[in-house]
Each structure stands twice: as structure tokens, then as C-alpha cells.
């Protein structure tokens, strides 16, 4: 504590710690809890995949007696049936949860890291820096997202890593805009001016004044963003431009099993339901969190 602190009015202490308050409100939201339930279940599948599955997801039957297991209908042993290579579909779906969650979390983390940095720089420095960064973001937003991702994959080659990067890069502008808006909203306020007059560095202003205010919209956007990222990456996988065989990825599994669809309907039903359920989970959580954390964005949905 320095003498300078005495010149400032004491910090108002909130009635309840904000974090605990937020947790309590999230608990009260049925949407958010339903979403969390689905995500929790998927995370469990992803973590426990080796114990939940009856065989390695890539174990195919080309070289073994497994081949007679190909295209089995759902049964007690293979309760989602087997694909054309005799691989147990349920095992592959469970392992697919790993791939999808990895894609969603990685690409959104990347987008937030880069987007938040760009948005903070744009907001703090203003003038031409702001203009250049935000025009660049506008240009990125001018591309339909899947198309921009396609372009990036076309450049870098069809690989899972590149698809993840592409999906992440595409959503950078969203986060840049949120952080920039928070910076602009806070920087003009008296307490920030006071803090700055006391010699606080831009980094300190950012961490102590901007980040807490940007957190709520960022969390909401991230939750919805993970859902979108999973959907887009599955789309890329389906087009053969994302995950490559034999990786257990839901979009790729749909594409693989497409030819067998007419007589083996379960092969395309299950991966599709898995994708939808996952995306639904993140959408529910995002919507629920939005209602709870960010009343300003609530619109008319109540």
C-alpha cells in the first residue's frame, strides 16, 4: 500500500463475490445446465474412450478375420453396428468426441488469443492502428466463414491441423470486435483516466479494467464459437479437406459411410447425431450463459 492509494476512494466491496454469484445464476439457468450436461457427457466419453470402446478406433478388418464383421447391423456387441471395414462404429464415435472437442477448444483458443490481442491493440492505440486492424477484420468478415476456411485449407493442404487453424482464423474478427468494444467502453471512463494518471501501464489497464468487463461477452462468444468450430471442422472433414482417414472424426465418418447409406442407414445416422448433439450442447450453454452473464445482449429472448 502506498500513500497514493489513500487518495482514492476505497473500493466498493460487492455484496457477494462476483464469481460465486455468477456460478449461482448459471446453476439457475436450465438452458446452461442442459448444455453443460451434454458437454460433461461428451468430455467423459472423450476422456474415458479407451475404456468405453470395445476395440481400437482404427482397428480395421482388411487383414484379419474381422472382415466378416463388416457392415453388421446394430447388435449387443456392436451397438451402433460396424462400418465397411469392420470397425465398431460405437468405438469410433466415442473416440470422435476426442477429435471434435480438441478441434473446438484449440481453434477457439487460438482465435481468442489472436483476436483479443488485435482488439486490445486496436482499442488502445486508436487512430490508424485501429483503422488498419479493423478494416482487416472487415475484409475477413466479408468472406462467408466456410469459404474463407476452404481458401486457407486450399493454400495449406488438407490436414486436420490446417483445418483447425482455418476454422480458428475465420473467427478471429468476432473476438477482436468484442475486446475492442470493451476497451473503448472502459478507456473513456473516469476511473481509468485516474488510473492512467497515476501511471498505470497499458498492460495494467488492460488486465485490471478491460479484461474483467470483456470476460462475460467473451465467454458467451467462446461457447457459441466452439459449437460453430466443431460444425465447420466437421464440414471440412466431410469434404475431405480436414481430418484424414483413418482418424475417427465424425464429419469424415459421414463421408466414408455415405456410399453404404442406402442399405446401412445407421452408419450415417450415428455420426450425424453425435455432431448435432455436441453442437447443441455448446449452443445451449452459450445461450444460457448469455441470459445469465450478459443481460445487455439478451435482446427479447426471455
Amino acid at each position: 500500500m502506498s500513500a497514493l492509494d489513500l487518495a482514492l476512494p476505497p473500493r466498493p466491496s460487492p455484496a457477494r463475490p462476483p464469481l460465486r454469484d455468477a456460478v449461482r445464476r448459471v446453476r439457475g439457468s436450465r438452458l446452461a445446465m442442459a448444455g453443460l450436461g451434454i458437454i460433461g457427457f461428451l468430455t467423459f466419453c472423450a476422456v474415458a474412450a479407451p475404456w468405453l470402446s470395445i476395440q481400437h478406433p482404427d482397428a480395421d478388418g482388411i487383414w484379419s478375420a474381422f472382415m466378416r464383421d463388416a457392415k453388421q447391423p446394430p447388435s449387443l456387441r456392436h451397438w451402433m453396428g460396424t462400418d465397411k471395414l469392420g470397425r465398431d462404429l460405437a468405438s469410433r464415435i466415442v473416440y470422435g468426441a476426442r477429435t471434435s472437442l480438441l478441434i473446438g477448444v484449440t481453434s477457439v483458443s487460438l482465435a481468442i488469443a489472436v483476436g483479443a490481442a488485435l482488439g486490445a491493440v486496436a482499442g488502445f492505440f486508436g487512430r490508424w492502428v485501429d483503422a488498419v486492424i479493423m478494416r482487416l477484420m472487415d475484409i475477413m468478415l466479408a468472406f462467408p466463414s466456410l469459404l474463407l476456411a476452404l481458401g486457407i485449407v486450399a493454400l495449406t493442404g488438407p490436414r486436420l491441423l490446417n483445418a483447425m487453424l482455418a476454422v480458428g482464423i475465420v473467427s478471429i474478427p468476432t473476438y477482436a470486435r468484442i475486446v475492442r468494444a470493451s476497451v473503448l467502453a472502459e478507456v473513456g471512463k473516469d476511473y481509468v483516466t485516474a488510473s492512467r494518471a497515476l501511471g498505470a501501464s497499458p498492460m495494467r489497464l488492460l488486465l485490471h479494467h478491460v479484461v474483467p468487463n470483456a470476460l462475460a461477452p467473451l465467454i458467451v462468444a467462446a461457447s457459441l464459437g466452439i459449437g460453430t468450430a466443431i460444425l465447420e471442422a466437421a464440414g471440412l472433414g466431410f469434404l475431405g479437406l480436414g481430418a484424414q482417414p483413418p482418424l475417427a472424426e465424425w464429419g469424415l465418418m459421414l463421408a466414408d459411410n455415405r456410399q453404404s447409406m442406402t442399405s446401412f442407414w445407421w452408419l450415417v445416422t450415428c455420426p450425424g447425431v453425435a455432431i448435432m448433439l455436441t453442437v447443441l450442447g455448446f449452443n445451449l450453454l452459450g445461450d444460457g450463459l448469455r441470459d445469465v452473464l450478459d443481460p445487455r445482449l439478451r435482446g427479447g429472448r426471455r
Binding site: 481458401g151 447409406m261 450425424g272
Partner: protein, 333 residues
């Protein structure tokens, strides 16, 4: 107001320049353009010719200027696979994509707006909950999976609709606009029109689902907001029938945010078109672009990305400008 319109139109210019630069970069900045442009036909002699033709030995800014110059003259190079001018192929595929996207957006509006209105008018009823559950599922659904399921149920099991393509082989329609529905109508061939519609049905339905769900959600929330306002209470107090309150007093004001959503959804629709066209073997720009990526046909990739981005920019422009006309309260200084 005029100055707003002028400024909004001018704001498109830097974005278009950015798009042109990104598409330029797609081919020229990374990798060896000779290899990209010649593919399997790479020979040193051919490479010399390419280097001259695309001025690859010039400095980057000069090359970019040259690229923009050619683009403005409608020259996007030749496809590596077919050897035909990219622009000629584009002219064949573009109407197919527009026809599909247009049909989908019309379906989405026709389904989404009434659903949203009913859900708002009967707030918290079973209809409301059902509509919102459906809308939530709709926005979470992978369009490529929905497409496959539609093919399975309506084409393979029930046999109501054809599963692939725009027309059965053997049937031709005199080409006019390239949109087969219009061409069939113009030729007065109702039989062909029916066949075209049946081919259009499944892909358009698949593509419309996500936008329909978004539109329903926004219509509902926008209606709920308007229905809570004082003038609605006044209308009800006067004894105006509930039906008239919803249809005449509330709807008009609730529709404004929808214009933005419909515009934005058209962009999402373009993304969805890539997947939908691939599944239904729809011979449009989306499928063309994806095939080009897998076949490393870079000039085509360039053209496809360019067309989608430019379309999206102009849709957004139209949406912004339509506000000036739709909402007299908004006066841009």
C-alpha cells in the same frame, strides 16, 4: 441521407480491394505458381510461357496490378483440369447456385417468420416451446448430414424426389437464364418445370433449415419485444382484436431486425451451399470450388472464393441501404 448512402457504398471499395488481394495471395504468394498453374503438365518450357503470361518475374505490386487489371477485364485465367476459361465455366455454374440459394431463402422466410410469430403470440405455450426446440435443433444441425438423411428418407425409401443433380439425363431445357425453373417457365414447358422443381426440392429444403431456424428465433424475440410496448397495450385496451394487434400493430415494427438476419443468413447460406451442392451433386459454384481444391485447380479456387466473397459484400451493402428506406426513424447524418 444521401451522404450516408455514398459513404456506405464507398466503404465497399477497401473491402473489395482486400478480397482481391487475398485471392491474389492464394495463387501467387505461397508456393510456386508454375506448379500450381500447370499441375501435372509441368515442363520447364511451359513454365517459361506461364512466367511470361502471368508476369511472374515482375515485382509483387506490379503482378498484383496486372492481376487486378486482368480480373477487371473478366479474365480469371484458364482451368487447369478443363483448359477452358474460368469465366466461361463460372457463367454456367453461377445460375445454379443462385437458383438454389434463392429457393432456400424463400423457403426459410416462409417457414421461419410465421413460426416465430405464432411462437411469440402464444408465448410459453406448447407451440412456443416446440418451435424453439425445433429452432435450437435446426441451428445445431450439420447441413451435410441433414442432406444425407433427406436423400435416404425421401429419395431412397419413399422415392418421392430424385436424389442427385438438377435434371435427369436426356432432358434439356432451352438455355436462357441458366436457372432451370425460369428457363422451363419461359419455354412454357410445364412438364419440365415440374421435374426441375422436384430436383430442387430436397437441396433447397436442406439448405433452408438453418436460416429458417435463425429467422424463427429472431422473429420470436423481436415480436416479444414489440408486444411488450405501450402502444400495443393501448391497442389492446381500445379493444382491437388480438389477431389484428399481432398482424397490424406489432408485426411491422418487429420485422426490421429481420432484414439484418435474413441478410446475414444469406451469407451463411453461401457457406451451406458449398456442402449442399456437394451432397446433391448440384452443378453450382460451391461444388465446383470444392472439386477444384481437391484437384489443385487454383484458378478455379480463386474464382470460386472471389465470387462468394463479392456476393456476400453486396448482400450486406443492400441490407444496410435497405434500412434507410425501411426505417424512417433512422436518419444518417
Amino acid at each position: 441521407m444521401l451522404s450516408y448512402i455514398v459513404r456506405r457504398v464507398l466503404a465497399v471499395v477497401p473491402v473489395l480491394i482486400g478480397i482481391s488481394f487475398l485471392t491474389f495471395a492464394l495463387l501467387h504468394v505461397i508456393g510456386n505458381p508454375c506448379v500450381a498453374l500447370l499441375g501435372d503438365h509441368f515442363t520447364p518450357d511451359a513454365c517459361v510461357e506461364i512466367r511470361l503470361r502471368y508476369r511472374l518475374d515482375d515485382p509483387l505490386p506490379v503482378r498484383y496490378a496486372h492481376f487486378v487489371g486482368r480480373m477487371l477485364h473478366g479474365d480469371l485465367g484458364n482451368s487447369i483440369t478443363t483448359k477452358r476459361p474460368v469465366v466461361a465455366e463460372l457463367a454456367e455454374k453461377l445460375p445454379a447456385t443462385f437458383e438454389l440459394a434463392l429457393a432456400a431463402i424463400v423457403l426459410a422466410v416462409l417457414a421461419g417468420i410465421p413460426l416465430g410469430i405464432v411462437a411469440a403470440a402464444r408465448h410459453n405455450s406448447a407451440v412456443d416451446v416446440g418451435a424453439m426446440v425445433w429452432a435450437m435443433l435446426g441451428v445445431s444441425m450439420p447441413v451435410f448430414w441433414l442432406g444425407l438423411m433427406l436423400i435416404y428418407v425421401f429419395a431412397f425409401q419413399l422415392g418421392w424426389f430424385p436424389s442427385l443433380g438438377r435434371l435427369p439425363s436426356g432432358l434439356t431445357i432451352p438455355r436462357w437464364s441458366g436457372m432451370y425453373t425460369l428457363d422451363a417457365l419461359r419455354a412454357g414447358d410445364m412438364h419440365a418445370f415440374g421435374i426441375v422443381l422436384r430436383h430442387l426440392a430436397l437441396p433447397a429444403f436442406a439448405l433452408s433449415t438453418i436460416p429458417a431456424a435463425f429467422i424463427a428465433r429472431i422473429t420470436r424475440s423481436s415480436m416479444l419485444e414489440v408486444l411488450g410496448q405501450d402502444y400495443i397495450r393501448t391497442a389492446r385496451a381500445k379493444g382491437v382484436a388480438e389477431r389484428a394487434v399481432v398482424a397490424r400493430h406489432a408485426l411491422k415494427n418487429a420485422l426490421l431486425p429481420l432484414v439484418t438476419v435474413i441478410g446475414l443468413q444469406t451469407g451463411a447460406l453461401l457457406s451451406g451451399a458449398v456442402l449442399t451442392e456437394t451432397i446433391f451433386a448440384w452443378n453450382g459454384v460451391g461444388r465446383w470450388t470444392v472439386d477444384a481444391i481437391t484437384g489443385s485447380d487454383y484458378p478455379v479456387v480463386q474464382a470460386g472464393v472471389l465470387v462468394f466473397a463479392v456476393t456476400f459484400v453486396f448482400i450486406n451493402l443492400i441490407v444496410d441501404l435497405s434500412y434507410v428506406w425501411l426505417d424512417p426513424r433512422i436518419r444518417y447524418e
